[in-house]
Symmetry: D2
């Protein structure tokens, strides 16, 4: 009984439910039957959606009720030139050398803009990038009777990190518990667990490990678990706790661009770019009550996430970026441009999640970062650093465009 | 000279630049040549990326340097049951009846969870959903000499809305200027233009129209344009200004679920769900310094955006959601569950951007919302309402899972 | 029975309650009896607290259970030099000329610092200051059954501003309703009423007027009032809605200081001050997840509030300030300093509240701003502008101190 | 030459500057001369301001250019009933038993409202209160060349806490360095130093100690100090970093009030209060983009700060409070009210600053908390706990008033 038409009919007639199809046939036939059913119900032709090119079974860990695939155009920018070598007191970055960065998007002009920025960065000798903090977090919320029990719970947690680490790490071969930070609000106690999850983005690993640790907390303290996530994690929401304390990788990338290069290639000046950045990305975002002090870092983060199989919904906090642009004045009065991006909570992995799907896996191979790194965690670090340089290129290019248009109109003004 | 191998060689040898390929051959061959070049440079095999199924030329407005496509698994949930009929004093919603909602994601269990929530909503008689505000914004920043000129500029803008509307609307056949709100920070003046962009998401329309209006501002006031976006828009950044004032569609969806249904289908109680929501989504997010008071609305928004060709980077603010869950007590002491989601700044469109690509276009057809609506804007309104109900289902399902696990352990506690 | 010892005894013996004393004697004797009682209970001597110098009855509208007064040292800074004259297209400010500003504080060095800044401002020719927005707000929250009723309520409110204005303004001889902005979150509808309250800070006026308007809303729509303040006002809490949309007066002050003056009087350079401001007040506050992008504006606001009888608890939002400092480069390569402060929600009044108390009233007289202005509202506008210039002076002085220390150490660095 | 008239004349004639008077006479005469000068310049009579009752010299550490004092009415509320006893696993609070709390304010009805709440708390058996975190912070900002140096600096700081602690603690006999947390934004490195400052609020102590530690950082790393405060402290600004991580004392207070008591004394129900709290303090503040999830905690904090000599400008962050109100259902279906306040960053001291002034010192004596505690820090802890209970009483009383008014109108509704 694996004829897709028959299966679709049985769904239509209520004999089968739409999510039960995989129990009766292979995954591709199930997807086809589901398409037939939906086409019948909605009067549509889902030919393109059905024209996916991977075995449906490979997507089994990633989706239910599959009908096919969305095809998002993917392009390439680069090379992304990263200076990661170790130098003296400096441990170096995880990424080094030149990398092509695949980006998937439907936003016209994005790749052209990022590519322009990357070209300028290359001519300037490449960008520096460093992961300055790393920790995937999960923060359960517990109920206590009141503040006295809350204080007792906090005290127990502060005194028993090792006990919690043993429990948490018993569930994972790779993850390490780095920290447990307690927060009290009335009769709610939140414990923010942070893990080194190596090359995995690590949300599931952190959740399972934290679940185990919660059982200890419940047995040793008066606290009773209400929810394994109490939103101080904070996952898929914009939150100052991530912007301040980080989540996943905190990564910074920067470049110093000679004034001459700014003029030749970006058709503006360091001063004009710095002014646009200050009025828009710093003062403007301040006035907007924003947690994002950048121009469009989310564009690069979202496109790189799509291409490499990251969790698209995490773009919400992964794109949290402060962009700085300063005119560094030289003795002769001219100025070079110092440009940086600092992403506080970039959650990325090179194993698990969507990274195993065919197109996503190939995209990671383009970067040379498919699978686990050596040492563990270095591939995810490198991915974070390269995305950061991509975001830096995007910021540079857009701010230069704004500043040069302004310069142009300033020139017209003078001509009046 | 359209042999892709030859073109790849010429790129490798520096004769052609990677973005110039489309000038020398058709789009598909250009993409192939680019793949060959990247494969050579990186020692990879990009077969899956190259196995896209649309004419590359159709993606020309959406990407540069194309090498192929990312294939993201797409599934179906639903039907989404929306009560949109007009009733008395009530104008009704744009969406009405049952709709299948396509979602593209790599997050396992997401569709199953949303589907469970949608089933409960259907049994409860469907959800209500309404767009309560609509306006796509663009906020340029101007430089003035100081506060005196700033005050003069603000006064002129407040007195000349019609002049600005004429200029802005001269650039568009559909868009209408709704409002211009001035903000002053020292010698920077920000003007937040808001437009009704009908069925288009409208960012480009708003940008072009605002550019035209800026010329009037520059000629009639002392203000000089620094950047066409001054971040009070605020695009692709989490910002309170969007959470408070809205951007794109502000949409709310809700449902009242009988207590019996909560117990039978969600295996918990209205009280337990309300408690989990308060401790996690309200108090937890408050403590986290968050702009997102929900569990995982971003999951549904991101997956619907991917499937239907929306701008993935706008998930950052589009997912901005407050979820409320209340136990509405009945006379007999039992309680029903009132559940709602309010998305402040959901930027969606059914025309333009990525909506024309084949798989995305088919996804909109499944919803019956491909292209412009009648009246204009009604398709985008309906899309916003259906996504909101999807997000509501996701919130319900996850909070019920948290609450029922808690109930289970509470029962164990009693058994001790 | 007005012997204070007897009254204290009766309180001690439970015959009288501590707040009932004014029913049995005059206000000063009641305060004395209360002191005697507290002294007895706590073994203290409250001589200084009892040594207040105003008739206790004058404080009757301001306090209950009075025992005396806190004496906070008050000093004077200035003159504050404000250029408020009307010039061409420019309507001018409410404050003009030189004013001494009284400040009450226990923070040593504050007045010296502000005074230094004011001296530099005077030498630079004075500061400009303008109120760019004015509106005291009150935002009740209503309960509705759900989103359909919410949409109906919003529509009614948007269509019936005049009806609400008539109701609101029937309760006040001075106040004018400027705007009613609706916000929907699930089954809660918030209406943010904004009033021109002239020379009164206006919180009470706005509350009473809004209460009257709420009765109309309840009778004409399905909405039912839950609380007269729903925290979108937002009173005495730091909130982006105030930072973005303003509350009370939105006021900006600025000054352009010649580079020579920066060097002579502040012992640093425009570039060094601008750098300190960017790294501390813009980037630092951005990273801190702050709503305050300034150095210590709250010091000046709090001290001016205390001296002039404003509501001390409103310092929370009244101090909300963005400070900008830019080096404006001249043709010869040297730079002048442009400095500004923009206070989004400065709630001030010159009538009502604590302004009638003797020391506070005298402080307003020093400023020439006691009581109602002509035209109505101009005194409160002028007070806002002068406080803003005071805050500007405080920012200038502190940032210069930071920058000059840095310059000094930079010089030492060069000397090594 | 100590005749005040003569001195005033010399100021008027430019022979003396207004801040130099103390060099020529005693402090009281200097203040008198200054008043005479200001009276002459402004045509005022400053009799009340001049009628202060402490030796001007005692205010010398607190103010410059003194002309007198602001007299703010002070009253008394209480007793504040705090259960601080140690019980089993529970370390107990610093405050225990009954305390009268002095409050200085010009906000009529505030003390009556707080007193009502305190009465209910007493009848309910008193409130619990605990300091759950303690640390006064100062966060300098350093300049580095770029991200490589930033990473190097962070690494050095993480490896050398002891070196920094030695340097910092060399400047203070009481303070202890608890933590140094590094944050990187481009070429700026922020180090957030946290200290246990015992019974002092500790801002000055922390600043001096941090200054010493900064010299080590500058000599051992490539980082160069730009400003001793880089706004991640964050002092006198509303900032998520304080709301999340705390500053000064993080303190929580709560009480469980029997349903009968809620009805008898507050004329409403636990359910109605919980509803008002959720719609106003949680959902309303969420929608407002607020960092303050309470009704009016700032009123109590500001009034207690004024009375006891705290830093009024710190009310900005000290009032940062999350209020929770829950109906705890009993088996019979009725509900008790659980009420709590959690203040994240309450900066208080019982030594230093304004605490030595006469009226302020007496106010601390009323509380039994003047000067240093035994053990050190316990007086400031107790002050934090008592203020928290005061804030709890204020929240209870206001929310009950809102809820009962609503109940009343609900009753009317039923009567229609």
């Amino acid at each position: 009984m694996t004829d897709p038409e028959d299966l679709a009919t049985r769904v239509r007639e209520g004999e089968l439910r739409i999510h039960e199809l995989e129990e009766h046939t292979d995954h591709d036939t199930a997807a086809e039957a589901r398409r037939l059913f939906v086409e019948g119900e909605t009067g549509t032709d889902l030919e393109s959606i059905g024209d996916y090119t991977f075995p449906a079974e490979r997507a089994d860990p990633n989706i239910e009720n599959m009908i096919g695939a969305a095809q998002i155009p993917m392009g390439i920018v680069g090379p992304v030139d990263v200076n990661g070598e170790e130098t003296g007191a400096n441990d170096g970055g995880a990424a080094d050398g030149e990398h092509y960065l695949p980006l998937a998007t439907t936003e016209g002009a994005l790749l052209a803009s990022v590519n322009r920025g990357l070209g300028v960065i290359r001519t300037a000798g490449g960008a520096d990038a460093r992961v300055t903090k790393n920790g995937m977090t999960r923060a359960p919320v517990f109920r206590v009777k009141g503040v006295a029990e809350a204080a007792e719970t906090v005290e127990w947690v502060n005194d028993n990190f090792d006990v919690l680490a043993d429990a948490a790490e018993s569930t994972t071969s790779h993850g390490e518990l780095l920290d447990v930070e307690p927060y009290v609000v009335g009769d709610s106690v939140y414990l923010r667990f942070a893990y080194d999850t190596k090359d995995a983005m690590g949300m599931n690993m952190a959740t399972i490990a934290t679940g185990e640790a919660c059982e200890i907390v419940e047995s040793e303290t008066p606290a009773s678990l209400v929810a394994l996530s109490g939103n101080l994690c904070s996952d898929k929401k914009p939150a100052a706790i991530n912007a301040v304390e980080g989540r996943g990788r905190s990564v910074t990338a920067d470049v110093l661009i000679p004034g001459e290069l700014v003029e030749e290639r970006l058709h503006t000046t360091a001063d004009a770019i710095a002014e646009a950045n200050t009025r828009k990305n710093l003062t403007g975002s301040a006035k907007a009550g924003s947690l994002g002090f950048n121009a469009h870092a989310a564009n690069v983060v979202a496109a790189a996430f799509l291409a490499t199989g990251q969790d698209e919904a995490q773009v919400v906090e992964a794109a949290n970026t402060i962009t700085t642009m300063d005119a560094r004045r030289r003795e002769d009065g001219t100025a070079d441009l110092y440009a940086s991006v600092s992403l506080a909570s970039l959650e990325v992995g090179t194993v698990g999640g969507g990274t195993k799907l065919p197109t996503q896996s190939e995209a990671l191979e383009i970067l040379g970062l498919r699978g686990g790194g050596d040492p563990a965690g270095s591939n995810a670090d490198a991915l974070a650093e390269i995305i950061a340089v991509g975001a830096l290129a995007g910021e540079l290019s857009l701010l230069a465009a704004l500043a040069s248009r302004h310069l142009a109109s300033a020139h017209e003004d003078l001509g009046r």
